[in-house]
Amino acid sequence: MKKLINAPDAVVQDALRGMEAAHGDRMRVSYDPAFVVRADAPVQGKVGLVSGGGSGHEPMHGGFVGPGMLDAACPGEVFTSPTPDQMADATNAVDGGAGVLHIVKNYTGDVMNFDMAAELGKGEGIEVESVLTNDDVAVEDSLYTAGRRGVGVTVLLEKICGGAAEDRRPLADVAELGGRVNTNGRSMGMALTPCITPGSGEPSFELGENEIEIGIGIHGEPGRFREETRTAAEVAERLVNPIVEDLPFSSGDRVLAFVNGMGGTPLIELYVVYAEVARLLGDRDIQIERNLIGNYITSLEMQGCSITLLKLDDEMVRYWDAPVDTPGLRWGV
């Protein structure tokens, strides 16, 4: 294992020190328990947005803390959910009297820890709602699995709900909007290579030299199938088709198309994929109104990409376009 780290156990803390050194003017960092919070938190009268999850997906979530997006983010260890004390302290730190929205990705650990945080928080007098993301169509959604994983839609939801909260919309509205974004978004990912967590030092799974995995999760969870390496055009089809059929997206729909890198894939390849996505959606008369291309919800150094489509309505477009000022996303400021 070759990594730019000081020690496997110190990666998350050391990265937080870097965040503080780089962005200390706009965010405060708490180390024990670990969370990052907007420098001006709590913002009076504004719904506070708290997200969290395992580390290793940067810039998500810490890189999305700032005006127009998250109020706080709780980083867990690499690929491990954060703990209830982090979430409870972050919730307290961002409560400006209008309540707090927890944004939770559907993973067993994340859900249980946020549940415990909500239980611990009872009696603090803070109104807390939560919204769950579960947009990964690679997973069969059934009673016999942990359900669909939360992936790319999480980034879009954090931005859109962040815009609504900045607009001083009440908690119930922001939570409803978040639910609507999740309901109208679908994603699927693929991997060219596995990644190596600092803790284990081993690849998260084995993939042959000429093999790719379609439907991969952001922690290297297995996907739908493996096959021989394909062209970007063929890979894009294998991701776009199940996404389009699942919602389903149909002719005349307006969408946000998000091509996300897994961390180890260069931007030039993501644009190659985006060209194919635009072609495939054009063939189906689905209109791309907004797009996002880059590494936003990553899986350490994994090579690969994921595609997310979100069926837009006017309110979503308005809050997507609203100003945002975070290390990971910035426009309109």
Partner: protein
């Protein structure tokens, strides 16, 4: 010999030792069907628990387990933090307020712990989780004539329960994403729970 604060402290120290010793094994098992962090997380959590046990006097056996529970909840993360945290929190509640706990009290604490784990994780028998070790172990203890027999029988039942997870298809947690491919792998959570029974037999046995 009844269960006391000192024997429960010894149990937790031995469990921490097992987590350190078997860290690599748990990581390997978890890498096969999960995300590979179970050994690392449990080792880190139990180290934190020992630090807290060393830094403050523990009133009784229940307080020891509650201290361990809160340390795990705040340091393990993942699913194992809330699940082991809930197990020890519920057991601690059942064991508290007494200097000595007999067989009936000990078994009752495990039943409360099992109930808490099932409420938190919603796992049923056969889902390939720690519940597949907890249920047979608790049943074995309920049949035992005395505490020593209960501790011994629990280890045997736990070992069989752990081994029985190997052919199961996972229905909970990250392993469930594998579907049929989760077969032929022993569940890491069931394995760490087996070590919990093994360390209990060593520490609490006569």
């Amino acid at each position: 010999m009844p269960v006391t604060r000192d024997t429960v402290l010894d149990w937790m120290r031995r469990f921490a030792g097992e987590m350190e010793e078997h860290r690599g094994e748990l990581v390997r098992l978890d890498t096969a069907i999960g995300d590979g962090d179970h050994g690392t997380n449990m080792d880190r959590g139990m180290r934190k628990a020992l630090e807290r046990l060393d830094s403050a006097d523990q009133g009784d056996a229940g307080a020891v387990l509650k201290t361990v529970a809160m340390a795990l909840v705040s340091s393990v993360g993942g699913a194992a933090g809330p699940l082991y945290g809930t197990l020890f929190l519920q057991m601690g509640g059942a064991l508290g307020g007494r200097d000595e706990v007999d067989l009936a009290g000990y078994v009752e604490a495990w039943k409360k712990g099992l109930q808490g784990v099932q409420t938190r994780g919603k796992a049923e028998p056969g889902d390939k989780t720690m519940v597949d070790v907890l249920i047979p172990a608790v049943e074995a203890m309920e049949r035992a004539p005395d505490l020593d027999a209960a501790l011994r029988d629990a280890v045997e039942a736990a070992e069989r329960g752990m081994q029985a997870t190997t052919p199961m298809v996972a229905r909970k947690g990250r392993a469930s994403y594998l579907g049929e491919r989760s077969k032929d792998h022993q569940d890491p959570g069931a394995t760490s729970t087996y070590y919990l029974y093994r360390s209990a037999a060593e520490a609490l046995g006569g």
